[in-house]
């Protein structure tokens, strides 16, 4: 009789309830909202670490300077490109892997272990391994592969730094997409699929008309969650190219403005651009996740 009412208030629990919730809220306020407000203030001030006294209100001039700077537009474009390439690669690859692993295969447990592993590798490790052991143009593994096919070795980080970084990041996120899509595929009703097979539907038709619609929601979730993390890609850039116009994204731009050029105002402005950017995406994600709260 009581199960239907999701939220019912009991005042004898309200006091302790608030008390137990408060520490978590306080920490989050202190670590996110408060600094965010300070960032907003900094972004409107002329604040340079080398001249700590010159911190006056300057309106939007930091933003103007940021937009006018030669680094900003490339960083924005790089961020978008990075996200697009990683999403496309990790979802396409993840979908393929999920379909393979969902098939009638022997040793699914072992396969899962192999596929999931890259996700647990810390970003500096994966970036350095790829850069040195695989992509290095003289004795890297890819150079050897190219030589096998009689092709010249490709100098990944000199010719396509952003793409190289995107590849590494995609490798880290592919397992995430694969695992979620696989989980979702396995929750797909077997009977429905068997019924379709009995009706004479081809494998391609089943994929297109049954599985892909079923996967639409998990794919949307993968897109949103990966995007949240991809806005902040930092370590991979730091340990491979160390910046440069061709591979600096917004996160790295903030870092270099603040830590290398000591320009707090401009760095704050760039940080806020990233925040706004993330928030646009967050609205969609929160809507999707909020719906699962009702279930």
């Amino acid at each position: 009789m009581t199960a239907g009412v999701a939220i019912r208030q009991r005042s004898y629990l309200q006091g302790p309830g608030r008390l137990l919730l408060a520490p978590a809220i306080l920490l989050l306020l202190a670590a996110s909202i408060a600094p965010l407000l300070v960032t907003i203030k900094f972004s409107l001030s002329d604040y340079r670490l080398l001249f700590p006294d010159s911190s006056g209100f300057v309106g939007l001039s930091n933003y103007a300077r940021l937009v006018a700077s030669p680094d900003f537009v490339p960083a924005l474009v790089n961020t978008l490109m990075l996200i697009a390439v990683v999403l496309a690669a990790s979802i396409a690859g993840g979908l393929g892997l999920a379909l393979l692993l969902d098939g009638p295969v022997i040793g699914r447990g072992g396969l899962r272990l192999l596929v999931i592993s890259p996700f647990f590798v810390m970003p500096p490790v994966s970036a350095l391994l790829w850069k040195n052991l695989l992509m290095q143009p003289v004795s890297g593994f890819f150079a050897w592969l190219a030589a096998l096919f009689g092709l010249p070795a490709y100098d990944w980080f000199s010719h396509a730094p952003l793409l190289s970084i995107a590849l590494i990041v995609a490798w880290q996120w592919l397992p995430f997409a694969a695992l979620i899509l696989l989980t979702s595929l396995q929750s797909f009703d077997r009977e429905l699929r068997e019924a379709a097979q009995l009706d004479g539907a081809s494998a391609a038709a089943i994929l297109r008309h049954l599985l892909l619609p079923h996967l639409a929601r998990p794919i949307a979730i993968v897109v949103m969650i990966e995007t949240i993390f991809l806005i902040g890609v930092f370590a991979e850039i730091l340990v491979t190219t160390g910046g440069g116009t061709a591979s600096t994204d917004l996160a790295f731009l903030v870092y270099s403005q603040a830590m290398l050029q000591y320009d707090i105002g401009a760095a704050s402005a760039a940080g806020l651009v990233a925040v706004v950017f993330a928030n646009i995406l967050a609205i969609f994600l929160i809507r999707a996740v909020g719906r699962s709260l009702e279930a």
């Binding site: 809220i25 989050l28 592919l174 979730i221």
Partner: protein
């Protein structure tokens, strides 16, 4: 039946080929970690025919840097995860069992703080840490990583607690258990699997966190992420050494990750994919 068996064989072959390709960089690293530096860079590369050696591992373990960073990583990841649980268990209890009309809003707000890119708060936190002597300190990292992972933990525990039958907690209230006893003697044992997987997920995320751990430490508090990142400079030329160091840095969480991959899906998608 024969076609079905063949189908199975082909599917298995493709699946293993694809999975091995995905895992290849790691397997290659593992192999390289047992080579000498000379064999590591030899071209064409050596697959199995080389002199297997543990010298790289011995070398890294003999130096203080790795162990120093390992200890830091364990303390920072473990400490922040423990702090996260200490804050998230009561919060999730509150939301799951004493909900108010604000609960939904608070949950979504917590989630939204996770969407805040670290760079949006980096500068104030950096300056604050500098002024308060928290730069390059494990305490500073513990606090920050706890805040970063708290929303995920609250969400995981919240959806976990909601599966605990409310009547059992009510029974304990009727039996006269205090709130503390209810949490410790009844809820915690019932939700133990969920609490454990939350801990492991948060631990993994903290272990691999590579923004704050690279920007807020210099020497004293360097965890493994920073230890490895240091290889980006000339040291990166020593591939065998880099490989061994990498393997040593990722093995702990790799094991944990393998053990709780399912809970991980739920946790990272905030329960939206089960």
């Amino acid at each position: 039946m024969r076609t079905r068996r063949r189908h199975r064989a082909i599917a298995t072959m493709f699946a293993w080929a694809a999975s091995l390709t995905i895992a290849f960089p790691l397997l290659w690293t593992l192999l390289t970690s047992f080579k000498t530096e000379l064999e590591a860079v030899s071209f064409p590369p050596r697959f199995l025919s080389f002199d297997w050696t543990l010298a790289n591992y011995r070398g890294i373990l003999a130096e203080g840097d790795y162990l120093h960073s390992l200890v830091n990583s364990v303390i920072v990841a473990g400490g922040s995860s423990a702090l996260v649980l200490a804050l998230a268990i009561p919060a999730a209890w509150s939301m799951a069992f004493a909900p108010t009309h604000r609960t939904r809003g608070i949950l979504l707000w917590m989630l939204s703080t996770k969407m805040l890119p670290p760079v949006g708060v980096f500068i104030p936190i950096f300056l604050f840490y500098r002024d308060w002597g928290l730069l390059d300190s494990r305490t500073g990292l513990v606090l920050l990583l706890a805040a970063a992972n708290l929303p995920i933990a609250v969400w995981m525990l919240f959806s976990n607690f909601r599966e605990v039958p409310g009547e059992i907690l009510e029974a304990s209230r009727m039996d006269g258990a205090s709130l503390w006893q209810e949490l410790v003697s009844v809820l915690a044992p019932l939700a133990l699997p969920g609490i454990a997987s939350t801990f492991f997920l948060v631990f993994t995320l903290a272990w691999n966190e590579s923004f704050w751990t690279l920007n807020l430490v210099t020497t004293e508090a360097t965890p493994l992420t920073a230890f490895i990142a240091a290889f980006s400079s000339p040291q990166g030329l020593f591939w065998a050494r880099l490989s061994a160091a990498s393997i040593l840095s990722i093995v702990p969480v790799l094991l944990i990750g393998w053990l709780c991959q399912r809970q991980l899906v739920r946790g990272l998608t905030f329960g939206a994919v089960k």
